[in-house]
């Protein structure tokens, strides 16, 4: 026990004497969380606050053109432009402007689009009332709305826009059908009826609500989503300095000296775990404080942690132990600093990727979804999300913490086994 006390003292001194390294251990994770949260928050705002430049060439001043134009403007998704350099563009100019990246989306509504729909509907209504069958449409019935998309624009946005335009045009077409039907019925009946336009009377509504445990409503924001994800990611990056410190100690012979003294490899590792656990926990506390107090000052939503501090702390300790355990395994097995740095950084990025730090697990392919269940970052992320956005208590997430502790223990055992193997067979 006394040996562990002295080892902790030594590891603590080594860490605090390296001022630059210490600053990086705290400032870099904070910078990462701040930047990533700001980026995600701004992306969210960009989509919601007319951030996407759209050039609209509406050659159809009738119902269809007006409806699409109105809906696009009303959606608030886009910053809508009608001219290029003060002049009404041609179809080709719209295409070129999008290709140059000046606009993310270009929409060209052809002239007489509504008129063409109306004529087709009229012909069809006439045929229905005269007992003829409606033939499949011919080429002159087609209305082609051109949607030009900058290749840099996300597919999801393109799909959303396509769906919306389809919805607007269907609505306009239905309205024309009903108008024509009304007109035709009135011309054939003694007693005229009012307009059959039933579309104005919406009867089906939907209401959206974020639900969480305990019948509480939680409004998630970019901060609640991003802080836990990037905090975990940053926490796992402790693997690199940790493994590097271990290799340095091994290379300069200090580890060998310790191993000739009355202390075991396990106690040397436990000492490092304790010191780096404090570092990781302080990282976590600083990031939480930043989320609560600094984020609102830079225009980000505040991180809400009230009533969740204990649960979050337990998860943070478990995640830190998992990261440190991984660092011990890497530091023991890697032979050089280069091996440790490359393997640790890439493996942490992979664990983060499959763990759902960048993209949610539910949109991953089935195989990756299966793999994600064995990533400690996924356990940590689920635990943090459950606490922060699903209103879960400690009892609800403790199993994630236990899994991370087992992961840490597993890594420690691998390291001890490997150390013994090296002593035996090297």
């Amino acid at each position: 026990m006394r040996a562990i006390g002295k080892l902790v003292y030594k590891d603590f001194l080594i860490i605090i004497r390296d001022k630059g390294g210490l600053a990086m251990l705290f400032l870099m994770p904070m910078a990462l969380v701040l930047i990533m949260t700001s980026l995600q928050d701004n992306t969210f705002k960009a989509i919601n606050e007319s951030g996407i430049n759209l050039i609209l060439l509406n050659n159809d001043p009738d119902s269809l053109g007006s409806a699409i134009e109105q809906e696009i403007v009303r959606s608030n998704f886009f910053r809508v432009h009608y001219d290029i350099n003060g002049r009404r563009p041609s179809d080709q100019a719209v295409k070129e402007a999008v290709a140059s990246g000046r606009y993310q989306i270009g929409i060209v509504i052809p002239a007489l689009a509504t008129q063409r729909i109306r004529e087709r509907v009229q012909r069809n209504v006439m045929k229905i009332f005269s007992g003829d069958t409606v033939k499949t449409k011919d080429a002159r019935d087609s209305v082609n709305i051109m949607l030009y998309v900058d290749p840099a624009t996300k597919n999801s946005l393109r799909s959303t826009l396509q769906g919306s335009i389809r919805e607007y045009s269907t609505r306009v077409e239905s309205r024309i059908v009903l108008n024509e039907l009304t007109r035709e019925i009135n011309s054939r009946m003694m007693m005229p009826i009012t307009n059959l336009n039933l579309l104005k009377q919406e009867t089906v509504y939907y209401k959206e609500e974020y639900v969480a445990r305990g019948n509480k409503t939680v409004i998630p924001n970019s901060v609640q989503h991003n802080v836990p994800a990037w905090t975990l990611f940053a926490m796992f990056f402790i693997v690199i300095p940790f493994a590097s410190a271990m290799i340095k100690e091994r290379e300069d012979g200090s580890l060998d000296r310790l191993l000739t003294m009355p202390c075991s490899y396990a106690s040397i590792m436990v000492s490092k775990m304790l010191v780096y656990l404090v570092v990781c926990f302080l990282q976590f506390v600083l990031i939480l404080l930043m989320g609560v107090y600094l984020f609102p000052l830079v225009g980000l939503p505040s991180l809400v942690v009230v009533g969740r501090v204990l649960s979050l702390s337990v998860m943070a300790v478990a995640a830190a132990l998992a990261a440190i355990g991984y660092g011990i395994a890497v530091g023991t097995i890697a032979r050089t600093h280069q091996q440790a740095a490359i393997f640790a950084s890439i493996s942490v990025v992979i664990l983060a990727a499959v763990g759902g730090i960048w993209v949610p697990v539910f949109i991953m392919p089935p195989l990756l979804r299966e793999i994600s269940t064995v990533s400690p970052l996924n356990w940590g992320l689920n635990g943090f999300y459950d606490i922060l956005v699903r209103n879960a208590g400690l009892a609800d997430v403790i199993h994630y913490g236990i899994w991370m502790l087992f992961f840490s223990l597993g890594c420690l055992l691998i390291a001890l086994y490997y150390h013994r193997w090296r002593k035996e067979f090297n």
Binding site: A3, K10, D252, S254, D256, R257, T260, E424
Partner: protein, 250 residues
Amino acid sequence: MNGKITIQIQNLTKFYRGNTTPAIDKVNLDVHEGRIFGLLGPNGAGKTTIIRILCGLLAPTDGEVTVGGYSLKHELHKIRQIIGVVPQEIALYPTLTARENLSVFGGICGLKGNDLKKRMDKWLTLFGLVKSQHQQVGRFSGGMKRRLNLIAGLLHNPQILFLDEPTVGVDVQSKYVIIENLMEINRTGTTIVYTSHYLEEAENLCSYLAIIDEGRIIAQGTLNEIKKENSTESKLEDIFLQLTGKDLRD
């Protein structure tokens, strides 16, 4: 002077992974209590391998070893309590001061409080490091580091002290202080196992010598016994060259 055997090595063999020739080949050695035992040999002869095995840092492939009466295989934890090791490398923490380094290593060896403080004061004074005791070791000269490296291994007054080339790369003054203090430590009863390339130093310091080459002990005894066995009155260096040859070693 033949005290009781404190280190006994029987048929010690060590193969490194991937090597078909042994680094240590069936070595038998007895080290008696209170001796300064010099283990000499050219580069790659197996000196450091033997020291690392005796300290428990490497496992032997075959053979039996006891240190201080304890079996290396089964009682390593007890061996660690009675040995001190001064490795070839400067095995110190460069960002810690001299005193902090000694406090860590002494504390791990069970020293504490006033006893630890007194010992640190004594050895820092003897090795001329008092003035620099609060400086970070990274700023020390090579000789100062080497002296502190030695103190870290003997601070807890071990029964057996292993020294792997303790004077390599130091100036004459530092070497003199180190040798003088090693002799003093030995006089208080500590058995010393010592490896070196400096044969003149070994000749003056060691009461018993073993010469190892290609993993085998090729001569052992007191300097006089070795001279007698090789029918020469030459210096140790000449006998060494006669036994190990003049070919360059890796």
